[in-house]
Symmetry: C2
Subunit: 121 residues, 2 copies
DNA sequence: ATAACTGTATTAACACTATTAGTACACTTA
DNA sequence: TAAGTGTACTAATAGTGTTAATACAGTTAT
């Protein structure tokens, strides 16, 4: 369910965070479902528990999971998650469009490049 | 002409590289125009010459400038620069659109969010 | 030729971050 | 009570970004 890409330049804890976010947003993990314990996942991925701990802390901070001490970490049922994540995406989009306009790329060119991009979904 | 934003999390050499790329792409700096010497710019920005050296090496590697030993660094006249940079932008755009589609955002929503975004240009 | 400017290369040091390692404490469940 | 859970802390290691100091080589102007 979770994996690490060692060719990826991003830190491991960030990859783990991103991966869980995706699984939750896409509904693969359901609200109140238990996710692997810090120690278990660390063994599975052959990395240090602290790294998983950091990823889980981040997920909790962003509202994707909640923690019950002594029991484990569970998927949040927060309906706002989708809206928040969409906002992140749109912010990134605005940022790259700004760069595009600065480079003289027109709105039409951008839209053209996007159209037909969603064939793989 | 060049400045450093210390609130920016990106490394200084990357900011300098990006800044020169923009000045060249937008035609502020013309082909064969001399850019500041490594030592001069380092003093201007109050940073180490090695950091500028790194930025210039990267700019040369990407074809934005060329170096004449003992004389200085000069803006390249490569016409392909624009095409290459546009490709970078479009690649970034594809990447973020992929994330958007994975989050269930539709093509129409993306296009709507882009339209009217170019008011500041 | 000399001085003053250029780029280039090398080595060392420092700070910060990502990660590992080990340990300890507290809570829950069987 | 034992085994599993999250949490907290400190230390060590590796990599990166940056600074610092120095040296070498080519160019230009005098």
């Amino acid at each position: 369910m979770i994996f690490i890409d060692y060719r990826d330049t991003r830190p491991i804890y960030e990859q783990v965070t991103e991966r869980f976010k995706m699984l939750i947003l896409r509904g693969v993990l359901c609200p109140d479902e238990k996710i692997p314990s810090v120690r278990n996942l660390a063994v599975d991925l052959s990395i240090n528990p602290n790294t998983i701990q950091r990823a889980y802390s981040e997920l909790e901070r962003q509202g994707y999971i909640y923690t019950v001490k002594g029991k484990g970490n569970f998927v949040s049922g927060d309906k706002e998650l989708f809206r928040k994540y969409r906002e992140e995406i749109f912010a990134g989009l605005r940022s790259i469009c700004k760069a595009a306009f600065e480079a003289g790329i027109t709105e039409e060119e951008i839209i053209q490049s996007i159209k037909g991009e969603n064939a793989n979904d």
